[in-house]
């Protein structure tokens, strides 16, 4: 039991993530052929100044699922991830972050992959006081949308938190809070309605602090985004 614990702890530690991507794939048992094909995508991303870690994680996942996922599919998915990272970086730049850190580029790319629109991404980045807070906000908004919350409501909830200078760590509680409200039997449509009216989650979680300017006009679903 304990060695599993230690291994999990070791995998979480920074030095492991900082290790050479090929070495990490080798450590996971990937074949030289697999490593050769996926590292070409890593090199491409590095050349473009994009974060490589999301690609490495996806390649590790692809290798772990190799029984069902052919390497060609993994390479295709890596290329898609790279495209989203590029788009995420451009959106962050367009929202005023001239040199977006890797965490923000990664979060923007993930958010686009989970259905947030370009406008959503730009809006949240603009609302955030700092780039790390923008990254957290994007991640949380994308997670809330993945939980089934209407995209506009997810963006509004996070936007109000960012505009209200909420503690970024507290924003990470929102997905758990939403799950908790759902478990109490509150319909998702009611939750979305309350958020869009500026009231935060039922139970008073995630509402804007008193005196906070209300969020931006929310694009109705189905008409959102520029993509």
């Amino acid at each position: 039991m304990m060695w599993h614990w230690l291994m999990a702890a070791a995998l979480l530690s920074g030095p492991m993530a900082a290790q050479d991507p090929a070495a990490r794939l080798r450590a996971a048992g990937a074949t030289p052929e697999y490593i050769q094909q996926v590292t070409a995508e890593f090199a491409e991303a590095a050349r473009d100044g994009l974060p490589v870690e999301p690609l490495v994680l996806k390649a590790l996942e692809g290798w772990a699922k190799r029984d069902r996922v052919p390497v060609e599919r993994v390479v295709t998915v890596l290329a898609q991830v790279r495209t989203r990272l590029t788009e995420g970086r451009e959106l962050a730049r367009g929202a005023g972050v001239s040199t977006p850190p890797d965490a923000l580029v990664t979060a923007a790319g993930e958010a686009l992959g989970r259905g947030l629109s370009s406008d959503d991404v730009r809006e949240l980045v603009r609302a955030a006081p700092t780039a790390p807070e923008a990254a957290t906000g994007l991640m949380v908004a994308a997670s809330l949308a993945a939980q089934g919350l209407e995209r506009a409501a997810a963006v509004r909830l996070v936007h109000d938190q960012l505009a209200g200078r909420a503690n970024p760590q507290a924003m990470l509680e929102l997905p758990s809070a939403l799950a908790d409200v759902l478990a109490r039997g509150v319909p998702m449509s009611d939750i979305a309605r309350q958020i869009l009216s500026g009231g935060g989650l039922p139970g008073g979680i995630g509402g804007p602090p008193p005196g906070t300017p209300r969020g931006p006009p929310i694009t109705p679903p189905g008409r959102g985004g520029t993509d």
Binding site: A9, V81, R114, A146, L172, E173, A179
Partner: protein, 172 residues
């Protein structure tokens, strides 16, 4: 009630000082005795409250320990929070956890609760979002129904998603 000589001496000294300090006729002794009694009562109350606070603190700590670390894990590495996963798989012989936090290697082993048959594992996770799957008998990769959400893995299947906040994960 018995008093240690040193305590008695200190009380007497306080009493004498208060009597001597009071310059109003006939008032000094009463006030001094009451003051000493009040001090003693206050000290006794403080001691009682301190003991109660210590006992309550111990109970909370033990309770949290049992709740958060039922696998015998006692400490989360710096910057991480212990998160417990539960999975019901009555027919499985082995249950493991694989995710972005294990480089997608099924290295975190669940243990089966002998009475309930529920499989549990506790892992340290950094605050943020994590994708994962549960691996049954080393072969079947299945999502966790208690996750916050399911997300497209890009390979035609779904991963479980949790977002770990500073206070851990609330899962229904």
């Amino acid at each position: 009630m018995t008093h240690e000589p040193e305590q008695l001496g200190a009380a007497h000294r306080d009493l004498i000082r208060l009597v001597l300090d009071d310059d109003r006729p006939g008032r000094g002794v009463d006030r001094a005795v009451m003051a000493v009694l009040r001090d003693r009562q206050r000290a006794r109350r403080w001691r009682t409250q301190a003991w109660l606070a210590a006992a309550a603190g111990l109970m909370v700590t033990l309770g949290l320990g049992v709740w958060l670390w039922p696998d015998g894990v006692t400490e989360a590495p710096s910057g991480t929070i212990l998160v417990q996963f539960e999975f019901t798989a009555p027919d499985a012989e082995r249950v493991q956890l694989a995710g972005s936090f294990t480089a997608w290697q099924p290295t975190a082993e669940f243990t089966r609760h002998p009475a309930t048959g529920v499989w549990r594992v506790t892992v340290p996770l950094a605050p943020g979002e994590h994708e994962y799957l549960v691996v049954l008998d080393g072969a079947r990769w299945v999502p966790d129904p208690a996750a916050h959400a399911l997300v497209d893995d890009g390979f035609g299947q779904a991963n479980s998603l949790i977002v770990v906040g500073p206070r851990g994960v609330v899962r229904s």
